[in-house]
Assembly symmetry: C2
Homo-oligomer: 219 residues x 2
């Protein structure tokens, strides 16, 4: 099974701009990428990072220790992923997003071992956070409510399709409120990076929030 | 195993007040309660609804067809639940929140079959959405970041503790943004009720939102 991890190297995580500078967003995005790749390696796979730009050149710290090959493909996400999906029966390709900071080997194993032509780990808000494709006609479309689209596309091409019920894989880190989950449940580089940047839990009634203090906002 | 479903009968779902009238909030809350109880019954258990008031008297539609016994306990949630937790070795009590509109028998079975003294299904934002307790000294504290508190309390009383990785059980329906998940993944009374009230998916780039149209806002 090939495992592909798409990564937007140049302007990552723009929806975190209210709480993180561009360089910080890049640092956090690369920490999450490292956590995802590390969890994948622990499952025994050799992931390939599909990056929109060279990770050495792009804005942000280098990733010399990333345990994965990096392939640069500057096409839009949907196109770049579709170019790597199976074209013949018997091939399997998994696509795992780079911002699943809570991904664990156990959660990923559940994804990989589910028995269907198309296995989807839905993200909150209708996204597709991770995907296993074993059907040569299935293609992705990441625009809009991609979860619903992918279920529909699977049906249209005659591929069996199941969803994986995982909180960890449903949690993509896009918005400031998502950082809470990294601080609550993460134990990798992303959590450590957020703590270094001064983020902490703000505990009140209702859901927990994040606050930031002490961290120098670096440009 | 006893299964308890706490339910705030009188002023349910106040954080939905920007999109639903009081009577509508009560209707949606009772639809979610019905979905949760139905999923529990499908797992072969006989849940007890622990309601803050009689469901016949409280503001909102009656629930004559609810397949569960209803016990009224007007104490605060933490106190009411603690009064029902195991006091002797060998007892097991599960506590499942009434607003887990995506709960399925499969997800609940995973919760019930996990092997530990305390099994927690964390909610988004650090809550405790469902819980199985098999230790006579464990007690709950639902204030603040209850997930972290429950992990700590289990450790303090010497109880083994595991978390269940379930998107469905992590999704409590508290805020307008949560309604998206009901429309995307729900197939019970809660989803049908929201559709009747005019809610639909608003599909754009990024996460899917909800919009409301056609529904008459009833008081």
């Amino acid at each position: 099974m090939q495992v592909v991890v798409p990564f937007a190297a140049e302007t990552p995580k723009t929806r975190l701009e209210s709480v993180l500078s561009p360089v910080e967003r890049s640092t956090v995005a690369r920490a999450m990428l490292t956590d995802v790749v590390s969890a994948l390696v622990e499952t025994g796979h050799e992931p390939t990072v599909l990056s929109t730009a060279s990770l050495a050149d792009a804005n942000g710290p280098g990733l010399s220790s990333l345990p994965a090959a990096v392939t640069v493909d500057d096409r839009p996400l949907t196109e770049a992923v579709n170019a790597r999906l199976p074209t013949t029966v018997g091939e399997t390709v998994a696509v795992v997003m780079a911002d699943l900071a809570l991904a664990t080997p156990t959660a990923l194993e559940r994804l990989f071992s589910a028995d269907a032509d198309v296995v989807i780990a839905p993200g909150r808000g209708g996204g597709t956070n991770a995907l296993v494709v074993r059907h040569p006609s299935f293609r992705v479309d990441y625009h809009g409510a991609s979860y619903l689209d992918h279920v529909r596309i699977a049906r249209e091409v005659g591929a069996s399709c199941v969803s994986i019920d995982s909180f960890r894989l449903s949690t993509d880190i896009d918005e400031p409120g998502d950082l809470v989950e990294v601080l609550l449940h993460g134990d990798g580089q992303a959590a450590a990076t957020l703590e270094e940047l001064g983020f902490g839990l703000e505990i009140d009634e209702g859901r927990v929030a994040v606050s930031r203090s002490g961290g120098v906002r670096r440009q």
